[in-house]
Amino acid sequence: MKFSWSAMALIRRGDWGVLLLGLLVVIALAKHYWMSPPGQHLVIKRGGDVFLTASLQQPFSVNVPGPLGVTQVEVRDQRARVRSDPSPRQLCVRQGWISHEGEAAICLPNQVSVEIVGQVRRYDSLNY
């Protein structure tokens, strides 16, 4: 036989370590970016100005009037979504539920955006 090989011979002992380390990196990144504790607050903006900041803990829904019509935002189970919006392509509605810090649903034509913010309160609700 000219050469003998198997997957085991191609992967050396240290390679297993590197592969394991790589998997750990993937898991750590997924945990950090995807399974981070859900955001605490949401910020609704209209035309660049803050329309409303609220906690995600209490379910509620709110109507945000924009240039095209009313955008309905709903909060339930510590998640938020745009329930309906007059924008033609419905991008922000189709985005569905958002719950993690940094996630946002933006209804550009109606100039309304819903953003989840985390522990660091960029807007103190007491001041509004």
């Binding site: 992967i11 050396r12 240290g14 390679d15 590197v18 592969l19 790589g22 995807w34």
Partner: protein
Amino acid sequence: MTVLTIKPTAEDHRIAYLAALAIALMLMEAALPSPLPGVKPGLANIVTLLVLKQYGLRTAVWVSGLRVVAGSILLGSFLTPSFMLSLGGAVASLAVLWLARGLPERYFGAVSLSVLAAFAHVGAQLTIVSLWLMPTVNVFYLSPVFAAAAWVFGLSNGLITAYLLTSHHGNSQHESAT
């Protein structure tokens, strides 16, 4: 009239030949559809790794650099953001491969080098995108997908490289390791 003749050495020929091979793989890959922009198998890295193992880092840098520049000219993306991403990924991979020289070859084969280089590649590209191209978007939100792709393709490219190295060398030095 003076005639200037440049005599290409054997190494020049080798670099040109290997770079052409890497460019062909890169072009092939560009024609393939990808589920997510930026997720590619990186088959050209097999060539980089083979060159690194057989001819050393200097030749690998040449082949990799020529591949990025000539490949982007052929794809029409020279000096565009996608060229910068390609270049950044290549520089980061080579830097990591340079650092990984110190790993004992008995335990760390082509798979290690391939996986490490793939992670460096993806890390550099995400950093470039977040710092320069899309500073307002949280691109790291997608990093687990890119890291997982780097792991899978790093492993597969590493296995291909390791296989090619053993089959070329028949019963060479690595055989005794097991």
